[in-house]
Symmetry: C2
Subunit: 380 residues, 2 copies
């Protein structure tokens, strides 16, 4: 194996319109890339270590954490290696083996995996299924009461996927938090696809924990990095320090994401704070594109009209083309790339996700044109 | 807070000789920085996701993991978010609350923190203390027998710090593994300061697990990234997949370090495989510098002669200067920086660590000259 020859340099995002929802909100700004580049040559946020990651003043991690906690409407925050690691930290702190956790009907696989690693039993709410896959936030109350009745145990935690990664459905977290609190259960809000794109105010929503994915939605792409924010006594519990190493938070093993990703997040943060104010425009763009695609026979699943840049498409017309096209089911990836568009998973034609986040109006028009052109040239 | 103004770009390593042992083995090669730069604009190792991080073929993570397992003389390997996360994964898989883990006398704080997070009781071997702080690998056997006798329980794991981060002492892992195995206890070798710098062959040493720190010692600086390698049944246990998501390894929550740090490791790996063959030269350089410093009255603690680039110095003469210098205890950092040298923790004068890893002979001569010059100009 000659690895040096196998690693292709990645295509610069500037050269293509990238529809991948995993990447659109994590795209770095030029000044962020400059900061990363100056920090990729050593274990460098530790140059001025003052005992633990969350206390570092240069780069200003400590003041960032204070500021970001308030930006999220929460009491305090810590850096984590990612959103899933934040969810695991909460589950591991609050619950013991065989305890219950309640999750919504569109929960991400990493929520289940985190619960399984923590030894917990997961009870999932239903969604309304096709075509909208809606989650009823009030249903948390019913499910918790059901668990109490059947198992005689109160679940230790509820997890709501604020915006899910499949359909981009936005759920009313305030209602979910009230429903959980009436039953004495704290709520963790998984904001992998919301905070960093749209304003998320934990104090208004009344949630107890917020987990964020900063490589997904806070323009800190490159390394994996997340945030965990918590309130009051919950923060004390989950952010507890080691008993022997008294300034080292136990659930992040002392110091979590201790490199360029932390610097990337700090560098992008001022722009992130600004951009959440422009969320309405992002939703408008997505709605316009969805309307255009529906006219071409490409169907949007999930709530309608959409409230998010991430959307799930179902397309018989694009699938039918794959049956006769010489590139088979890889044709869509290839035809879009020819037209300057990447980010749809290679091989998919019938069901796939796209994100319009950060695209200009003109780019959205181009995306619509590309789909129309492909259907006209290759369709029945 | 104006964060955009607070983040200073970091000094390029090329401009200074960096003595920081946390950073010297993690320094990236120019081609690695090029690869990182092309990957810092999105969640990018997932472009060609085939279900889980360890299966990705482009970039070639899957074949890297096969190759690196054999490079380490182990059956299989997984990427982790760092070395501490690898240790926690093993502890969490093998032991339950109140179980015992045995660690050596120079164990890193993150070993204790990982054990505490996993709810374990830690029993530590003694070291010989000042001046050499040696660890007796045979002592694992005595300690395990003592725990069995007093508590009636066999420890679930032993952890040996192959080279510790304080004194740079290299311990005979083969002897430790035999001692543990005679008592039926598996051994995890913490190679944060060994693998990636020197050859570590798990099959020759007979260890059951190897944890590595790739931002520290595998030239993958920038993001935090580690490796966990394991053998046979232990690998099956620790690398078990989720029961619901059958290709997602549970202990890394499906996918661990999923960004530019993984690409950095892959890009540096061919050079790392090559450089471990030159370890003898690194030790020679360190020994020569230590001998020179001792002549200046700067004392090397830890085993003598040293077997590692990382060394702990104790210096009354440098401390005495701080008592009268106008910059007080910050003078040493400042005087070294004036002479083109960084990496000693600001404020330290009496006890500090330095690493000669990757320096040229000429740079080592310059380091010795700088210490001599400072002592001559400012000393008594």
């Amino acid at each position: 194996m000659k690895l040096e020859q196998d690693i292709e340099l990645r295509v610069r995002e500037e050269d293509y319109i990238n529809l991948n929802p995993l990447q659109s909100g994590g795209r770095t700004y030029p000044e962020t890339r400059k900061a990363i580049t100056s920090y990729v040559d050593g274990y460098s946020v530790c140059d001025w270590c003052s005992g633990a990651l969350n206390c570092i003043r240069k780069p200003p991690i400590q003041s960032f954490l204070e500021d970001v906690a308030s930006f999220l409407g929460m009491d305090s925050a810590l850096l984590t290696n990612g959103c899933r690691e934040a969810k695991y930290a909460v589950m591991h702190s609050l619950a013991s083996s065989k305890d219950f956790v309640v999750v919504d009907g569109n929960a991400h696989y990493s929520t289940f995996v985190a619960a399984e690693r923590a030894g917990l039993r997961v009870e999932q709410l239903d969604s309304t299924g096709e075509p909208e896959y809606l989650v009823d936030p009030e249903a948390f109350g019913d499910k918790i009461r059901e668990i109490k009745k059947i198992h005689g145990k109160t679940p230790k935690l509820a997890v709501l996927t604020h915006v899910d990664g499949s359909y981009g459905n936005l759920v009313d977290a305030e209602k979910a938090a009230s429903a959980c609190h009436r039953e004495g259960v704290p709520l963790l809000l998984n904001t992998a696809y919301s905070s960093g794109r749209m304003r998320v105010d934990g104090s208004r929503l009344g949630v107890d924990f917020i987990a964020a994915s900063c490589h997904k939605s806070w323009a800190a792409g490159g390394g994996n990095i997340g945030l965990l924010a918590a309130n009051g006594e919950w923060a004390e519990k989950v952010f507890r320090n080691s008993s022997d190493y008294e300034i080292k938070p136990l659930e992040i093993l002392g110091c979590s994401t201790r490199g360029a990703a932390a610097v990337a997040l700090l560098a992008s943060y001022p722009k992130v704070k600004e951009r959440v104010g422009k969320w309405g425009g992002e939703v408008d763009k997505a709605r316009r594109l969805m309307a255009g695609l529906e006219e071409l026979g490409v169907r949007q699943l999930g709530e309608k009209p959409t409230n998010h840049d991430l959307n799930f498409l179902q397309s018989d017309v694009l699938y039918e083309i794959s049956q006769t096209h010489k590139k088979k089911n890889y044709y869509l990836y290839s035809e879009l790339k020819k037209r300057g568009i990447i980010g749809i998973k290679p091989g998919l034609t019938r069901h796939f996700k796209i994100s319009t986040y950060g695209k200009t109006e003109k780019q959205c028009d181009h995306i619509l044109w590309a789909f129309r052109d492909i259907i006209e040239k290759h369709g029945p």
